[in-house]
C-alpha cells in the first residue's frame, strides 16, 4: 500500500515540476509549486514515523506552503504592476 502512495506522490511531484517548467503564467507556476509540496506531504504522512513525527512535519509544511503562497502571490501582483503582464517569457530582464 505504501508503494502505491509513494508512486502517486512521485507522479504528482513530476506533474508539478512539469507545470513549473512549462507554463508561462506565473500563477500556474505557483500552482505547480503547491502541487509539488502536496506530493511531498503525502510521503511524510504516509511514512508517519514511530511517534507520528511525520504528521507534525506535514502540518508545518502546510503552514509554510500557506505563507509561501501568500508571499508568492504578492510577488506576482507586484510583477503584474511592474510589467503589466505575468507571462514569464516576457519578464526577461535577467537577460541583460
Amino acid at each position: 500500500m505504501m508503494l502505491e502512495l509513494f508512486i502517486v506522490s512521485a507522479f504528482l511531484f513530476s506533474i508539478g515540476l512539469a507545470i513549473v517548467i512549462t507554463r508561462k503564467n506565473a500563477i500556474f507556476v505557483l500552482m505547480g509549486i503547491e502541487l509539488m509540496l502536496n506530493a511531498s506531504n503525502i510521503n511524510l504522512i504516509a511514512m508517519g514515523g514511530a511517534n507520528g513525527q511525520g504528521v507534525f512535519f506535514g502540518l508545518f509544511v502546510i503552514v509554510i506552503a500557506a505563507a509561501e503562497a501568500a508571499v508568492g502571490l504578492a510577488l506576482v501582483l507586484k510583477i503584474y504592476h511592474h510589467y503589466n503582464t505575468i507571462e514569464l517569457d516576457k519578464v526577461n530582464e535577467l537577460k541583460d
Binding site: 508503494l3 502505491e4 513530476s14 517548467i21 512549462t22 500563477i27 502541487l35 511514512m47 505563507a67
Partner: protein, 165 residues
C-alpha cells in the same frame, strides 16, 4: 481490501486532475481542477487515518490558497467575456525532465524497499496532537506562527501599490 481500492481511486483522481492542470490553458479551470486534486489528497490522508491533517488540508488549501490563487487570477487578468488563458513552452524538454524525474523517484522508491505496513496518522488522536504540539513542538509551533505573521506582513508590503524603492 476496501482501503486499497480507495487509495487507487483517489490517487487516480488526483493524478488526472493534476494532469488537467498541466494541460489546460484556462486558468480558472486549472484552479478548480487543483481544488479537486487537493480534496482527493485530503481524502487520501483520511484513508491513511490522519484526520487532523486531512481537515487542515481542506481548510488551508481549498479554503485559503485556492481562494488566494483565484484572487490572483482575477487581479492579474483583464476580465471580460473571454476566459483567462495562458500557453506553455519548453514542452519537449520539460517532458523529458519530468519523465526522467519520475523514473528516478520510482527507482529510488523501489530501491528503498519499505515494509508494507501502514503506520498511518490514526495512531495519534487529535487531542494527543494538541498536547504534543504544545509540549514537544512548542517552539516550532510558535515559529510557524511568527512565520505566518511575517508572511502576512511581507505579502501586504510587497503587494502594496506604493513603490518602496
Amino acid at each position: 481490501m476496501m482501503s486499497d481500492w480507495l487509495i487507487y481511486f483517489l490517487g487516480a483522481i488526483a493524478i488526472l486532475s493534476a494532469c488537467y492542470v498541466l494541460f489546460t490553458s484556462n486558468l480558472l479551470f486549472a484552479a478548480f481542477a487543483l481544488v479537486l486534486t487537493f480534496i482527493s489528497i485530503a481524502l487520501l490522508y483520511l484513508v491513511m487515518g490522519a484526520e487532523f491533517i486531512a481537515v487542515t488540508q481542506i481548510m488551508i488549501y481549498v479554503g485559503g490558497i485556492i481562494v488566494l490563487i483565484i484572487f490572483g487570477v482575477m487581479l492579474t487578468n483583464k476580465l471580460g467575456n473571454e476566459p483567462p488563458r495562458s500557453g506553455s513552452h519548453n514542452k519537449f524538454i520539460a517532458a523529458l525532465v519530468s519523465v526522467s524525474m519520475f523514473g528516478l523517484l520510482c527507482f529510488a522508491i523501489v530501491q528503498m524497499n519499505f515494509s508494507n505496513d501502514m503506520i498511518g496518522g490514526s495512531l495519534l488522536q487529535i487531542k494527543k496532537i494538541g498536547q504534543v504540539l504544545f509540549t514537544d513542538y512548542l517552539i516550532l509551533f510558535e515559529l510557524a506562527g511568527i512565520l505566518l505573521l511575517i508572511a502576512l506582513i511581507g505579502a501586504s508590503v510587497i503587494a502594496s501599490k506604493k513603490d518602496a524603492a
